[in-house]
Every structure is written in C-alpha cells, then in structure tokens.
C-alpha cells in the first residue's frame, strides 16, 4: 500500500478512537441535588390546557399548574379540595370558592375571572379545542361551541360567571353527579389572559409561559427534552422535595430501556417492547399501576344478530390465558365493561358474566342454539404486534366453536375512519379500547347509547339509554351505582345483549429506580411530582 493512501485511514481511526475515549461520561444520577430524570414517549403536542388532548401533555400541564380538585383515596375517589377551597352543589347550580393564596409565576393573583376567561376560551369555536366537549354539561356551552356567526350573544349565555374574585358560579344543563370530580381534568385549568393575548400560539414557550403550580417551565427543546424547576412561589413549595425534573423524549422502546439500564434516567414511562417484558417482569423496578380503562371487542350486531352467538364467542375466550401468555402485563381479566378501579365497580359488575377462563362447553351449547350462525367472521384491529397477538389467540378460541376468523388490520388513522360512524358493514368484530376521562362509570356507559359517536355496534336499546340518562341526573351515589348495575347487566349480565365483549382492564407500566421515592401513576395516568424525591 502506498504511503499516501495508508495514512488517511489511520488518521481517521485515531480520530474516531480519540472521540470515543475523550467522550464525557453519560449522566450519573444526580441524587443529592434532587434532580429527577424522566423518559417520556413523545413530544407533548401542547402545553395549553385549552388544546391539550393527550396524557403526556396533561401530565406536564398538571405539574406546572394545580387542578381545582384532587382525588381522594380509592375506591371512592371523592373530590378533595386543591385550588378550590370549597364548593356547594344545588342540583344544576355549582358554586366554587377558590383559595386566596393562588399566585401566577409573575406574582399576580389567580382569580375566578381567570377561570371564567379560560373556560369560555376553551369552549369558543375559534380555539377549536378537542376537549371542549368536557364543558358540554354546562348550560349554553354546546350551543356556543357550535355557533357559526353572532357568537358573542351565545357566549354571554354560557352558564359560567365570577361574581367576585374568589367565586366561580356554574349553571349545568341538569344535575351531574360527577361534575366536581370532572374538574380535576386538565381542560379546567386556567390560563393567564394577558400572556395568551400577547403571545398567541406561542404563549407556552419558555420565557413566555405563566403558570401557578408547584413547578415552572425552565426550558423546552422541542422533540428533545423539557426541563421544569421548582416554583418557589407556590403555596406549598416547602413540601416539594424535587428541584428539577428533566423530561427526555425517547419514542423507541428499546432505546428507552437501554437509556434506563445505562443509568441515564431515573424513571422511564415509554412502553417496553413486548420482547423485553419477560426480562423485567419479575424485577421490582418494573412498576404496574391500575387505571380505569377497558380493552374490548365490539360486535356488529347487524352481522351477528343472534345474542346466543355473541355470548358463545364471549364465553369461549380464556382471558386469563391471554393475559398470562400474550399481553404479559399483569392486566385484569374483565368481568364486565366497567373497570375494577371505577368507583362502585364491585356493585356495578355484580351480575356481569364475562368469564376469566374459557367456558367452552357452555359456549358450544349456546352456539348450537343459533339458527343461522355466522361461521365466517372478519376481525378488525389497528396495526400493532400486541393487538395481532391477542387477535390470533381469539381466532384459535373461536375455532373451537366452528368459527373461521379472518384477521384484518390497518393503520390507526385509517382504522378509526373505517369503523364509522356510520358502522361499516364489512366489520363483524372490531377491537378498541376506552380509557375513562374521569373516574365515573358513566363515561363508559354513555359509549353504548344510541346517539354515541363511539358506538359502532349498530346496537340501540331505548331502555338502556333511559337508565343511563337517569343515572346522569342522580347525585346520590348509592342510587346511581344501582342504576349503573342495571346498565351493566343489560350489557354483560346473564341475559345481557353483549353489543361489546370486554377482554381486560388496562394497567400502566413504568420503570423506576429503587432510589426514587413516592413515584406513583394515578388512575388518570398522572404523576404527582410534589410527592416524589430521590433517596
């Protein structure tokens, strides 16, 4: 080899080795400084409470602000005062009294007028908030949201007012037993009017943003990381141990696991790829958190009209086997549609009959009763190895009943549009999941009402609708849970109609190092970082 050609190769190699050797050490846990490093799965699309729709954004918005109410201990999850000091409910009239020590990060006081401005902003048609429907229980809100012209008049008729700096008055369309609990949702968090009006869409950028909670936004490198630091102005700042939280965005599950294993993060919330779950399953660092959500298959009741066949198909599935061998996530086999962590679930699901293990003999007997059984079923789901694995298992279970199932999958966005409404006639069975917006079973039952935009089953039962509607207007919990029980019985009871077939109740998973104390993900997939510290 000529000298002239040899040395560039060696130089290159030396440079590469040099960089590797000189490279600084990857981050070490910054424990004494109380700086927490969390891996999250995606860039929060919005830190504006008015336009945020996903749990990543909600989690951070909740760290930067304070909700009106928090949830008390399970199983009741009763509303506990947070930014609200107290409230009174008189049928459809709700009066909320704010604390008087709420302060924005710029020193100004948070007043009831901030709430009124913010809520009207979220309901407004211009902001086009996805979660505006959270406010539709308030009188006039839906009309204002749908207005096309002369909106100012409709705006003034919305039932939200602030008679003084500490009082918010709400007029609902009718009594809603869960309204106070619903106030915990991110969309009810107020925004600072002057900041929003000055900076427009950019008001959430660091340097512009004004919040009033336990942490404030220090920096945001889009799609890379966010840093929040302790807000020393917050009323309970002395009880907050963490000084800084760095949220690093790593979407790839394998990389997140590698980063966590290498000690570059203290907590990882990015889902583990299926192949890595067995490795961590027995490890105490792999945390499982309950939530309120159901994974289910919906039937097209026009294509499978005989309820005996639907019940046979629901009975033939071994839910425990699916959880033990396929999902591997420690989920709960679903007895009914209402998840076990929903308040009152035990009573609500009292008559629910979805079996945890397969009841093949019963299922076959039911199938025999069906006059014109549909033996060729098309099962649709959105593309994912997890859904495909579950569908394959279900396909095998249904084969025992003499049913041939064809699995069809498509990309998520197309899938949602394909399902309807109106329900697609090609679909016999479809897979979906539902994570509850607030901890009340109503949020699940209203899906199966005749007018629900989420009902792709062609099932419409007026008696069911009436029960659900009545429950909405029943503030007394015991009375309401009894009505929910009736609704659940119509869905999954011994003579239930089974427009849907629940499979399991969701859980969430995170990885957390043993020196992280107080880390918990609550039933709405949120972490209260004021309770977290590093040992």
């Amino acid at each position: 080899m000529r000298k002239g050609l040899r040395w560039p190769l060696w130089a290159g190699a030396l440079v590469a080795i040099g960089i590797i050797v000189v490279g600084s050490a990857a981050g070490a846990p910054d424990q004494r400084a109380q700086n927490l490093r969390v891996i999250i799965a995606s860039e929060p699309p919005s830190l504006d409470p008015g336009t945020a729709t996903d749990t990543t954004s909600s989690n951070i918005i909740q760290a930067l602000n304070e909700p009106l109410v928090e949830f008390g201990p399970a199983p009741g999850l009763k509303a506990v005062p947070a930014a609200a000091q107290s409230w009174t409910v008189n049928g459809p009239r709700v009066t909320i009294t704010l604390r008087n020590d709420l302060r924005w990060t710029n020193g100004q006081r948070v007043t009831a007028r901030d709430y009124v401005y913010s809520w009207l902003r979220t309901i407004s048609p211009e902001v086009a908030s996805d979660y505006a429907y959270q406010f539709f229980g308030i009188k006039g809100a839906e009309a204002y949201n749908a207005c096309k012209e002369n909106c100012a008049a409709l705006r003034s008729q919305v039932g939200i007012s602030a008679p003084n700096a500490r009082t918010i008055r709400v007029q609902l369309t009718g009594p809603q037993a869960w309204f106070i609990q619903q106030l915990n949702h991110t969309s009810f968090i107020p925004v600072h009017r002057a900041t929003v009006e000055k900076f427009g869409d950019k008001w959430t950028e660091p340097g512009n943003i004004v919040t009033f909670g336990p942490f404030r936004l220090a920096s945001w490198a889009h799609d890379a990381n966010l840093v929040v630091v302790k807000n020393t102005r917050w009323r309970k700042a002395s009880s907050v141990r963490l000084n800084r939280i760095t949220f690093t965005i790593i979407t790839d599950g394998a990389t997140a696991e590698n980063a966590y294993s290498a000690g570059n993060a203290d907590v990882s919330e990015t889902d583990l790829p299926g192949a890595l779950v067995p490795k961590w399953q027995k490890n105490p660092e792999y945390k499982t958190f309950g939530t309120i959500g159901t994974y289910y298959y919906g039937f097209n009741t026009k294509n499978i009209p005989d309820v005996n066949q639907r019940r046979a198909m629901a009975m033939a599935i071994d839910r425990k086997a699916i959880i033990k061998h396929v999902t591997l996530g420690g989920q709960f086999p679903a007895k009914g549609f209402t998840p076990n962590r929903a308040p009152g679930a035990k009573e609500i699901n009292k008559n629910a009959t979805m079996p945890a293990t397969a009841k093949l003999a019963q299922a076959k007997a039911l199938m025999a009763k069906v006059r014109n059984p549909k033996r060729n079923i098309s099962l649709y789901f959105n593309t994912s190895t997890g859904h495909a694995a579950i569908a394959t298992a279900v396909q095998a279970f249904w084969r025992e009943l003499g049913i041939t199932t064809t699995l069809k999958n498509m990309e998520f966005g197309q899938y949602l549009q394909f399902l309807g409404p109106p329900p697609n006639s090609d679909v016999d069975v479809y897979r979906l999941g539902w994570i509850y917006d607030y901890p009340d079973a109503y949020n699940g039952f209203e899906l199966w009402t005749c007018d629900s935009g989420n009902n792709n089953t062609n099932w419409c039962n007026r008696k069911y609708d009436a029960i659900v509607k009545k429950a909405a207007a029943t503030p007394n919990e015991d009375a309401r849970f009894k009505l929910y029980q009736q609704a659940e019985t119509i869905l999954t009871g011994p003579t239930g109609q089974l427009p849907i077939m629940p499979i399991y109740w969701y859980v969430f998973h995170s990885l957390a190092k043993p020196y992280v104390v107080g880390y918990n993900v609550d039933l709405t997939d949120r972490t209260d970082y004021t309770k977290v510290s590093l040992r």
Binding site: I19, A132, Y133, N258, N264, E411, G413
Partner: protein, 311 residues
C-alpha cells in the same frame, strides 16, 4: 455553463408544483382524521370548528392553491397537531440537526469508504480485498435500525464505562459518534464497492498502461489519472445519497431520540398533519434538486467529455 445552470434552476418550479400536487393528492387519499388521535370520536361541532380553523372545509382545489401560495411566500402554515408551532418553526429548529447528522454521516462514509474501495482495488484478490469487501457487503445488508440498536446496546450500555457514550440525544460531540456510524455505514459500503469497481475498470484502460510504460511513478499514475476518473461514479452518487441521508435519517433519529426533521416527517404522516407533510416534502425536494444540480456541475469539471453537451 451559466445558461445551463439558469435553465436547471427554472425547471425546479414546475417540479416543485408537481411534488406539491402529488403529495396533496396522496395525503388526501390515505384518509384518516387529523384531529382524531385516540379512539375517542370527535364531536361533530368540534370537528367542524377544527376544519374551519385549518381551512379543511374549503374545496380541495382551493386548499391546494392555498398551499402553493404558502410555499412561494415561504409561509408553510401552522401544524395541525402541534398547536404552538408553525411548520416554519419546526423546520428552523429541526432541519439543522438533520443536516448536521447527514453531512457528518456522509463525511464518515467518504473518509472511510473511498480509501477502503481504493485499497481493495489496488490490492485486488488479496486477503485485504476480500476482507474489505466482506465488511462492505455485511454493512450493505444489515438494516440500519439493527446496527443502531446493537451499537447502543454494546457501546452505550454494556461497555459504557469504557466508552462513556450516551444512549440517546443530540448535543455535544459524544452524542454524534454512534448515530453517525449507524447512519454512515450503508453509504460507506456503497462508496467502497462503487469505487472499487470503477477503479478496477479504470486500471484496465490503455492510458494507464501507457502512463506506466512512460515510466511515471505508480503513485502519480494512480493519484493523477486513475483516481480522477474512478471517482466520477462516486461523485454522481453523492447527490442522491445526500437525499437518502437526510430522509433516511428518520430511523436513526427515531432510535437515538434525535430531534431531527426525519422523525417529524413520519410522525406527521401517521398523524395526518397535512401542513407539516407538505412543507417538509417541498423542502426535501428542493434539497435533492439542488444537490443533483451541484453534482451535475461538478461532473462537468470532472469529465470534460460532457462539457460540450452541457454548455
């Protein structure tokens, strides 16, 4: 030369219009609702509000004209999904990162690949040749995402106490090492094989034999005559390769958690973020067109035979 260049630049306008049209049509054809990100159905009134806000309630041809106007006034519109950002913001923040990664990977590929190819050609059929081409073929066939994950696992986790390399992110030089290698391996092997083949062919040429017969030193023969002609295919490949590096960096950016434009691009397609998809497509088209133009101009200098045609 000047006329040639100007003509090529003028041609980019109809090409870009065609690109916008095709992207527009394809995005509409894949259906899906940009505002429905979860299983929750969007209530009708809210869907209408959102469509009105982003002009999606207009007839298709009006939306198309709107986009075209936006492109030529360099206002690529707001993102449908990331509410606090415009497409211009996204490009400004993330495009430099992808360029940085792409250029470094290209340099890695050139600095390692070309000498490897030259060496293999000069020592044809020696163990060195077989070893180099063996490595090249391996690098050519292993998918980049596998290379990336293996690199992270071994160099950033298992042996991290020796190397001190991070598993993810983009910041200081230590974060550049693994992603550049992962992205650069494929072009490196491509160059190596290309240069080797082209050099072997050139070495057979009569003028090389003549130069040797004239008594020129071997180093001069190779350096002055052989190399220049052998590198032409490599130069031609650089244009589209740069395009590959910037667009194909998506997988690497995704795996390493690098805030580049590639990752945004694919996320925008699955999320039906029409304006981001349109904006980035146009941007990438312009880059590829410019890269090809530059390559064509350099080509003219490298290969005098094309001079008369082009000018």
């Amino acid at each position: 030369m000047l006329k040639f260049t100007i003509r090529r630049i003028l041609w980019t306008i109809p090409v870009i219009l065609l690109v916008i049209l095709m992207t527009f049509v394809m995005m509409r054809m894949i259906k899906g609702n940009p505002f429905r990100t979860t299983e929750r159905a969007v209530p009708e009134a809210i869907q209408r509000n959102l469509e009105r806000k982003f002009h999606l309630d207009q007839p298709a041809y009006k939306q198309y004209l709107f986009y075209v106007k936006g492109v030529f006034t360099l206002d690529l519109g707001p993102s449908l999904v990331l509410r606090s950002q415009t497409v211009n913001d996204i490009i400004k923040q993330h495009f430099p990162v992808s360029i940085h990664l792409g250029v470094m990977a290209l340099l890695f590929a050139i600095v390692l690949g070309i000498p490897l190819g030259i060496l293999a050609a000069l020592k044809q059929n020696s163990p060195l040749d077989y070893a180099s081409m063996g490595i090249a073929n391996l690098g050519f066939s292993i998918p980049s995402f596998l290379v990336a994950t293996l690199l992270i696992y071994f160099f950033a986790v298992k042996w991290k106490d020796v190397t001190g390399l991070p598993t993810n992110g983009w910041g200081g030089p230590e974060t550049w090492v693994l992603p550049v290698i992962a992205l650069g391996i494929y072009p490196m092997t491509y160059f190596a094989r290309l240069v080797r083949g082209s050099m072997l062919e050139t070495l057979q040429q009569d003028y090389v034999r003549t130069a040797k017969a004239k008594g020129l030193r071997w180093r001069v023969v190779v350096g002055k005559h052989v190399l220049r002609n052998s590198l032409i295919p490599a130069v031609t490949a650089t244009g589209p390769l740069l395009g590959y590096l910037i667009t194909g960096s998506f997988i690497i950016e995704y795996i390493f958690g690098i805030p580049g434009i590639g990752k945004y691009y694919v996320t925008a397609v699955t999320g039906r973020d029409y304006s981001v998809v349109m904006g980035i497509t146009v941007l990438l088209s312009v880059i590829i067109i410019v890269a090809n133009l530059v390559v064509d101009i350099v080509y003219v200098y490298l290969d005098p035979r094309t001079r008369d045609e082009r000018t």
